[in-house]
Amino acid sequence: MSNNKLKSEGVNIQSHRLSKKEIEDNFSDLHAPLTQIEALIEADRCYFCYDAPCTKACPSDIDVPGFIQSIRSDNLTGAAEKILSENIFGGMCARDCPTEELCQQACVRNDHEDKPVEIGLLQRYATDSVLDNGVKLFSRKKDTGKSIAVVGAGPAGISCAHRLSVLGHNITVYDAKDKLGGLNEYGIAAYKSTHDFAQQELDYILDIGGINIETGMELGKQITLDDLQKQFDAVFLGCGLGTVNQLNLDNENISGVIDAVEYIANLRQTSNKDELMVGKNIVVVGGGMTAIDIAVQSKLLGAEQVTIAYRRGKNAMAASEYEQALAKKHDVQIQYHLSPKQLISNESNVSAMEFDVMKSHNDGSIKATGESLTLKADVVFKAIGQKLVTEGLADNNLELEKGRIVVDKNRKTSLTKVWAGGDCILDGDNLTVSAVQDGKLAAISINETLTQGA
């Protein structure tokens, strides 16, 4: 295991690279919220398409033209209801969805002006209105007497719990961490979720009632899947990916080589970001959103040189073009076709990283060119994906494939009483919005199963 704490290494790794004020400014909202007049004008740009492509492109089926029409008429509660009834995390998704690849990519305005309606910002405008004013949109149906265990208090689990509560069931949510929210709380880039929004949103969602919370409960340790199946009428697994992939290089546990996910979680939880240890020269290994997030946030914390090293070419990168552009805007270098070869260290810390230079071939494969490249590095962030912790799952005849839980279209697993969703399932796409949809679909399916013949 690698050492996940950064130690001070003189000028190479130090805190207070920027003043408190500079860091506060750097971590303010990535996109300022719309004012009322901006929202009205933007809402007017929506063509109210029939069978709207934006809605088709939304993993959580939000009626986009419908909620925009309600913004246009100053019916913000109606707008928020349209959003939140499909996606209870509509507020967070408005902040962290890659809209440029989803709804906004599908906007017909791209066809003739290359400037889609700002759906994400409009969604935030509508949802902020009910969250800020505590407008209650949902209430519980008559108690069904059924109880369901939800493992994981991330977007998938809470989405499932909320929908089940609306339907009148009683839910117990278990989470290994102290705080609820999963990646909304520990993972999403800080400038996408400012002012403790994740907790504000959770408070709003849990206000429905009927949801009992148990923190510090980890599957396979304090709780077991076996027991849950015995104690509850149904179980939903939304436990996410509990551990990260490793580089599998010789001296991976040397100081300065750390998991990006861990560092981001720290960054999200600290109230004094200026006190975080920050490297001078940083290499990020990976090509997904986590790689972009850690790279950009390192820059915002005052790192001098940040380079993302990715094995394949630009088009293969999991991070969207928009995210790549965001990184470049923050002076992050993105180097393609670099495959980790070895870590070079001085006595106490990593000092550089050597890569094989790769080449993409037409069949999609990549091969080493024989050349190599060395990048100076005081800190190396590993952002090469996460994986499911299978302890506590594997012994239960739960069908897994490629290290993930297999589910059907209703998010039901191979076990009679168990459903799953979010990053832990096969084909999970690491998006908050998809996790929320999984939770919602699972809840609908659980409800149908539990109320059959009732």
Binding site: I37, I41, Y47, F48, C49, Y50, P53, H112
Partner: protein, 433 residues
């Protein structure tokens, strides 16, 4: 450069853009600024008997806006001039002296007794004004006192008051008409009978803008109570254009000169009025929303337009479109249009489909093959109604194309160049054989 000079009833002005009788022409200060900005003429804010009227000390105006706060419609409850008669006369005399090349018309409103007209008209004319405009249109306040629209709604009163004015005036008399009537032809013919030299229209339309969503009172109010006001601005232009065209094509009134009023905001609006029979236009709301400077674009826009059309003067444009206006019963029922969608331009929003499907003739088909959205016209259902064109957000994406030959797939009828209208249609019980 086309000649923009205007000669309306012998009243000359450097361009056909006049400011209508309204707040912008209330006093010399405003009118001087208007002339400096380039307006061709003004109709001075309506004069009445002393003691002068008073206005409310609360909201006089309110607007209907688009979401980007562009003014679409405008309403007001201001009355005629609230300054002493002599103060206005003094200023008018000075302004006419200072701006001899601009048109200055006095808008007037007097009660239905000849003495009042006999007393006031000669004194006003003595200031050197170029003409009178009789305000028979103001729909609020003054109409409660038997003037304004209360006169304009009764053809006999129009005729009578026009006769009185003509009797005591030597300069041209224009009668300004209210749209708050059933058929504008009746007041227009009454003007003619009363000896009017011209009509101007439209004055404002009776209106309440909305309610206040907090207090659930009408909006706006003066301390909690409100009253209907006159509606104007862009939104009323189509109503005005119809009335202008009706007078311009009516046998009796077709030679009666018209000053067009109602929502003129750009030179294009002026083209509409001129082509439909007006000889000049009067503007108020656009100036009250944007200030006097907007006249600059009106002038260059109209001039450039005339150049493009190969016209040398405004006169050549006047009435051009009038012959194209007719009664419904004379429309050619043998003419067949079909909607055509330019698939290259189509952005696949589907608005044409859903409005046709929900509210019209189910003539636009939709297919979605794995996200490939295609909208096509079904000629066997298309009645050529133009709804799809009217809602399409893309310019020239959907057009109406006339069938020149063949058979209309909807009706099975052979296309013919022979026109046929309702007057001879077999379904018409009153058809002429």
């Amino acid at each position: 450069m086309a000649d923009l000079t205007s000669n309306f009833l012998g009243i000359k002005s450097p361009n056909p853009f006049w400011l209508a009788s309204a707040p912008p022409t209330d006093k010399a200060y405003n009118v001087n600024r208007a002339f400096e900005a380039g307006w061709g003429g003004v109709s001075w804010k309506t004069l009445g008997e002393d003691p002068h009227i008073v206005n409310v000390n609360g909201p006089r105006y309110s607007t209907m806006m688009s979401n980007d706060r562009r003014v679409i419609g405008f309403n007001n409850i201001e009355l005629i001039t609230d300054r002493p008669f002599q103060v206005n006369l003094k200023e008018m005399r000075q302004v006419k002296r200072d701006w001899p090349d601009r048109a200055l018309v006095a808008s007037v409103m007097f009660p239905m007794n000849e003495e009042s007209w006999a007393k006031h008209i000669p004194i006003i004319e003595d200031t050197g004004i170029d003409g009178f405009e009789l305000n028979f249109g103001c729909p609020h306040g003054m109409s409660e006192r038997g003037m304004g629209a209360a006169v304009g709604q009764v053809p006999e009163y129009i005729k009578q008051a026009t006769e009185w004015c003509k009797k005591y005036a030597t300069v041209p008399v224009i009668v300004k008409l209210t749209p708050n009537i059933t058929d504008v032809i009746y007041p227009a013919e009454a003007c003619l009978e009363g000896g009017a030299d011209a009509v101007s229209l439209i004055n404002t339309i009776n209106s309440i803008m909305r309610v206040d969503y907090d207090s659930l009172t009408m909006f706006p109010t003066t301390g909690g109570m409100g009253t209907h006001g006159g509606y104007c601005g862009e939104a009323v232009k189509p109503i005005a254009l119809n009335m202008v065209a009706e007078i311009a094509r009516n046998e009796k009134t077709k030679n009666l000169p018209i000053s067009g009023i109602g929502g003129v905001t750009t030179w294009k609006d002026a083209v509409d009025f001129l082509a439909l029979g007006a000889s000049n236009v009067q503007v108020c709301t656009a100036a009250m929303v944007y200030g006097f400077k907007i006249v600059e674009d009106m002038k260059t826009g109209l001039s450039n337009f005339l150049d493009e059309k190969g016209m040398n003067s405004v006169d050549e444009l006047i009435g051009k479109a009038v012959p194209s206006v007719t009664d419904w019963k004379f429309l050619n029922l043998n003419h067949v249009d079909k909607a055509v969608i330019d698939q290259e331009k189509c952005i696949k929003c589907g608005r044409c489909h859903i409005v046709c499907e929900d509210t019209s003739h189910q003539a636009i088909n939709y297919s979605n093959d794995e996200g490939n959205r295609v909208f096509t016209v079904d000629d066997t259902e298309c009645v050529g109604c133009n709804l799809c064109v009217s809602v399409c957000p893309i310019v020239d994406c959907i057009t109406m194309v006339a069938m020149e030959s063949g058979t209309d797939p909807r009706t099975g009828k052979v296309i013919t160049s022979e026109p046929a209208d309702w007057t001879t249609h077999e379904n018409n019980p009153l058809k002429v054989s």
